[in-house]
Amino acid sequence: MGKTVIEKILAAHSDEHVEAGKEVWIRIDVRSARDFAGASVVNNYRKAFGDQSVDDPAQTFFTFDCNAPANTIRYAQNQQVCRVFAGKHGIRVYDVDSGIGSHVLMEEGLAVPGATVVGTDSHLNIMGAVGSFGQGMGDVDIAYVFRTGQTWFEVPATLRIKVNGIPGPHATAKDLTLALVGTLGSRGALGMAVELMGPGVEGLDLAGRITLASMATEMGAIAAFLPPSEEVLAFSRSASGRDELQYPTADPDATYANSMEVDVSELRPKIAAPPRPDNVHDVDELDGEPVNTVFVGSCTNGRYEDILSVAKILQGKKISSKVTLRVSPATRGVWGRLLREGWLEVLHDAGAIVSHPACAGCAEGQIGMTGEGEVQLSTGNRNFAGKQGKGPTYLCSPATAAASALRGKITSPERL
């Protein structure tokens, strides 16, 4: 019987027969913990395994992105606990100057097509963007993987979504993603893997794939996988120096729990209104609603292409005097490229502030929070009450964020 993408990846990492619904032991290629929960992983590790060495220091990492650099003593202490542990075990730390851990792991050629990756980040299923299986787990889980390089996993069933049509120029990968989250709802793919196929997703670049794969979490999914991409393969081969890498694909006779089709040829810019990511509308439906502050960044929309699209819209213009625009590139690499190409200057001149690379708006306090009644537009992935402050948060694409910052009101980029 044929295998789905996730069955193939897991089967290549297990000695047991892998099929949906079965619990199997799998080998983990990349093991990571971030500054949130990292110290708990260390404590659990010490309690359970004392001074025993980690299974493979070269494949074990800390990535500091939640509160980087730390602006509370609590986070500073936790980061230092991780550094001391890392020093003792010969583990590499991607420290507070690196950027979002999941992106760093992709850029460093560690999360590559076909690999298994775990960490304490609940959006680690973002690795689907490079054809890798990523999963967020609890502190005990990760401590165990640090020690053994293995974990158990229930092989999820797969939902196949065919995305027909090609969206017009104003609809971005984020609009497509929000449309899918809106269609599926937060439990629409609960506990399942999702395989996307069809013309609507085949042409997505790496940045767009990252956007889509990151929000599998908001669909309730274990992970989302996309059609093979030469760009991704070339990116991962170059980043890792491993020319033998292949993109994982499903067998033609793979078994799917369910299949559905959506048509995106008429897709327009989308926005998720508070308080849930699946509360999705056309941006135009909310046209003119006042906005106080705008955040561009996060693991969902912090790539070079995302911030470039904002800079191009703002070039030679000024944002509304009534809004603040906060931008945080996903990684140091993205930040540097925007700097060298002059785009940070464009953003500055338009009235934006550009912060250091990290989780920023999605992590408490890093690039400011909102007060009660302060309306925020965010290119992040969650708008639950309290997640980004006290005020209501809308989720949208970088283009919608830029168009709205110019006018000081919710604005579809179609209107520019």
Binding site: K22, E23, V24, W25, A37, S40, N43, N44, A48, F49, R74, N78, T120, S122, G136, M137, G138, D139, V140, D141, A143, Y144, R147, T148, W152, E154, G191, I222
Partner: protein
């Protein structure tokens, strides 16, 4: 065999009410954590819970953060199992990995009321409540082994001892 009294709560019991978020960074031993279990949801619980008692929750039990303290505090309080209509995925994993039985039995959840006597027989896959038997499929062997050993870490220690 797990036997005890049911402590019943509603849908979406989140990790912050199972173990209060304000204690997240307070270093506590499991015995101390047990004293704060469910403290914001049910102030009677910690004082009156007995070994073998069962938590009964609705949908999406354990949603919220990935902190396994929300499992440790219940386990340490003597809770024998958590029964729910459904679990948040990370909570389910954390429960098994800490040796706490987590079962999805929506019909039993509807029938059981706060304070009712409940018994669970893992061998035969039966939960008994007021002479009604609710059957559940045998746990996958992997999950069963981890549970029987008392969690992921003891499971590994046992495996390593066996290999040595």
């Amino acid at each position: 065999m797990i036997q005890g009294k049911a402590w019943k709560y509603g849908d979406s019991v989140n990790t912050d009410v199972i173990f209060p978020g304000r204690y997240t960074y307070a270093r506590m031993e499991p015995e101390e954590m047990a004293k704060h279990a469910l403290e914001d949801l049910d102030s009677d619980f910690a004082e009156n819970v007995k070994a073998g008692d069962v938590i009964v929750g609705g949908r999406n039990f354990g949603c919220g953060s990935s902190r396994e303290q929300a499992v440790t505090c219940l386990k340490s309080a003597g809770v024998g199992a958590v029964i729910a209509k459904s679990f948040a995925r990370i909570y389910f994993r954390n429960a098994i990995n800490s040796g706490l039985l987590a079962l999805e039995l929506p019909e039993a959840v509807d029938a059981i009321e706060h304070g009712d006597a409940v018994s669970i027989d893992l061998e035969s896959g039966v939960l008994t409540h007021k002479d009604v038997e609710y059957r559940f499929p045998p746990l996958p062997p992997t999950v069963r082994e981890i549970l029987d050993d008392g969690g992921l870490v003891p499971h590994l220690k046992k495996k390593l001892t066996k290999e040595a």
